[in-house]
Amino acid sequence: MVLNVKDLVKRYGEETAIDHLGLSIDEGEIFGLLGPNGAGKTTLINSVLGLTKTESGHMEVLGKKLASNGNGVKKEIGVVPQDLAIYEDLTAYENVDLFASLYGLKGQQKKERVEEALEFVGLADKKKQYPKKFSGGMKRRLNIAMAIVHQPKLVIMDEPTVGIDPQSRNQILESVKTLNQRGITIIYPSHYMEEVEAICTRIAIMDRGRIIARGTKEELKQLIDFEEKGILLVDRPGEGLKTALKAIEELNDVEISQEGVTLTWGKGNQPLTRIMRIVDEQGYQLKGLKIQEPNLENVFLTLTGKTLRD
């Protein structure tokens, strides 16, 4: 087990940031920690890394207690802080090189690893430049390179894509997947539902210092019983079609919209063949059917009654 947390409690004054939280993460996962701002994701990470005092709880990283096994375990972990932690007056190369040294790399091996890390985040051609001149996305990527240069077994990336352009964002998401394919376990706290859904193999949903649900995204979606939506793509749908469709009892709702006809049905009750027959009978040509899958946003909404982003 890469991470094992039991009954963790962390308070800031009166406020309980982590509330009797338990969590275990297996090797090889990209583990998403999904929760809105202030859910306690960063506090959880900081507690686990021993960066903040906790009121109570048992924590193990890579099978060891961090406090008692300091540097041994630390070498196996790479941490990408939520806020940029780079020295603006060192070049990209020097930034990465400094931390390579701190993690005990030396000589030729260090040089290779630094080059590799910069290459990996796509900054190889900018290695001699100062981050002062970097875009937000480039700084974020440097932030990552500094944390992976020592090739850790576990990488914790706290919201690495906040405030950056889509291109950098995609590149970061791709690189997370690549790291994972190399056998590195990744813990990925984020409040971006789409990102977590796109790359994570397992997800825990966090709210107010607690984990309220966990599993693969499919498992999470099954947790809730909601309606599915589809849009029937036809040219100029008329009232006749609408009435005919309404006769199908599995359909909960039928609305004419700009694109075509929006249909809603209960989960797993998709009356596809009958819909197609009616379209045909009414003399329309079916151009397509867009089915809207349930997403984690719905899951979160159902579980907490809140949206992920305000």
């Binding site: 900081n46 890394l49 021993g50 960066l51 903040t52 005092k53 300091g70 540097n71 041994g72 630390k74 070498k75 972990i77 941490v79 802080p81 939520q82 806020d83 940029l84 932690a85 020295y87 007056d89 060192l90 020097e94 400094l98 931390f99 040294s101 701190l102 993690y103 005990g104 030396k106 500094m146 944390a147």
Partner: protein, 392 residues
């Protein structure tokens, strides 16, 4: 290994800071030149009328009375601030510490020798920081001696020459009283020039501005996201911090060497034959600056507050040490307060090394500087614990 990497990287970063280079190296070089050439000019006229002059005598005779009366004259009081000194050694020490710029002393047998027609001496001892002060005092004393006042006083009646006084020298007969001019700092009677003085005080002040570096070396990592990286890296926080301060110390070495060597060769400043002890004191002072910087970072509630504290402290510490111009401490509160000024101890140590007659002064300065460093560390430990744990 890691330690040196951290030190080297810190040094590298600091040396890239152009503004820092400008203010820590170029500015002192310019100021030394400006202040050094101003010492003989403007600068002194402001302090005229307040030249602290000590007066010491064990003579009980009429010669003393007359001289004292003379010093009471309004015209003279306009120029000199006469401070009676009860002990000769004490007076010399005050001159050495620049509490007095000049010490006038009459020997115990002053009246007697004059009444016997022997040659008498008035000694004028100066600190050698300026040519102007002693020359003013000398000419005042000379005017007294040559004016023949003494003879009227010591003699039995007005206009009557004393003992074997040689009338052959006419009214110039008064030259039998010798004016002995001495300099406490160096025997050769050559005063310290303004530029020599300011090279020392400005070096000291600009090393003290390094408090900012000490403070920053702590705050930039402790109170920023960088602390996450450092705390999760397999290197102890203390180790990292020590490495950082070695790097900062490196920048101090460059600063100190540049200032000393440049002023030595370009301005001809007297740094003595062997500059190593001066580098040593300066480095010790940079230690003081770093430790004070850490303490300030830990006790001040905000970045702004710490900037104000540091600015205020350095200016006051420089002022009371006589860094901007020699000042009169007297024996009052100022002479106590100046002990809290690291500048004072560093300057005293350097001046004594270069010109001094008190061999103990250097050791004393070093002990004071070490004491201040220790004090800063104690403050850091007391306030630092709470502050650091708050931030984690």
């Amino acid at each position: 290994m890691k330690l040196w990497k951290i030190a080297y990287t810190t040094f590298l970063r600091k040396s890239r800071d152009k503004q820092e280079l400008l203010t820590s190296i170029l500015l002192p070089l310019v100021l030394i030149l400006i202040l050094g050439s101003a010492l003989q000019g403007n600068f002194t006229s402001q302090t005229l009328g307040n030249i602290p002059v000590g007066f010491y005598t064990e003579d009980e005779g009429p010669g003393r009375e007359s001289f004292e009366e003379f010093l009471e004259h309004e015209e003279i009081r306009e120029w000199l601030n006469i401070i009676p000194v009860s002990d000769y050694e004490e007076g010399v020490k005050m001159v050495n510490d620049l509490d007095l710029l000049v010490l006038i002393s009459l020997p115990p047998d002053f009246s007697e020798r004059i009444s016997q027609g022997l040659e008498a001496e008035i000694e004028v001892l100066d600190a050698g920081v300026s040519e102007l002060y002693p020359s003013i005092v000398n000419s005042i004393v000379r005017s007294y001696v040559q004016g023949g006042n003494l003879y009227f006083a010591v003699g039995s009646g007005p206009g009557q020459w004393m003992g074997n006084g040689n009338p052959g020298e006419g009214t110039e007969g008064a030259t039998e009283v010798q004016l002995i001019e001495r300099n406490t700092f160096r025997g050769d009677n050559e005063p310290i020039r303004g530029i020599d003085y300011y090279a020392v005080t400005m070096l000291v002040m600009f090393v003290m501005w390094g408090i900012f570096s000490g403070s920053q070396s702590l705050t930039e990592d402790l109170f920023t996201p960088m602390k996450i990286r450092i705390n999760t890296a397999p290197v102890s926080r203390l180790n990292y911090f020590i490495g950082k301060n070695f790097g900062v110390l490196g920048t101090f070495i460059v600063q100190i060497l540049t200032i000393i060597l440049f002023t030595k060769y370009a301005y001809g400043v007297n740094w003595g034959e062997n500059i190593l002890p001066i580098i040593g004191i300066s480095l010790l002072l940079s230690f003081v600056a770093i430790s004070l910087g850490i303490a300030v970072a830990l006790i001040s509630p905000s970045e702004n507050a710490s900037t104000s504290i540091i600015n205020g402290f350095v200016v006051v510490a420089t002022y009371i040490a006589g860094g901007f111009f020699p000042i009169n401490h007297g024996e009052g509160i100022l002479s106590l307060v100046r002990n809290f000024s690291p500048n004072y101890h560093a300057q005293r140590g350097i001046f004594h090394f270069l010109y001094g007659t008190e061999p103990g002064a250097l050791t004393e300065s070093i002990l004071w500087l070490l004491g201040i460093t220790l004090f800063a560390f104690v403050i850091s430990l007391i306030f630092g614990r709470r502050r650091i744990s708050e931030y984690l």
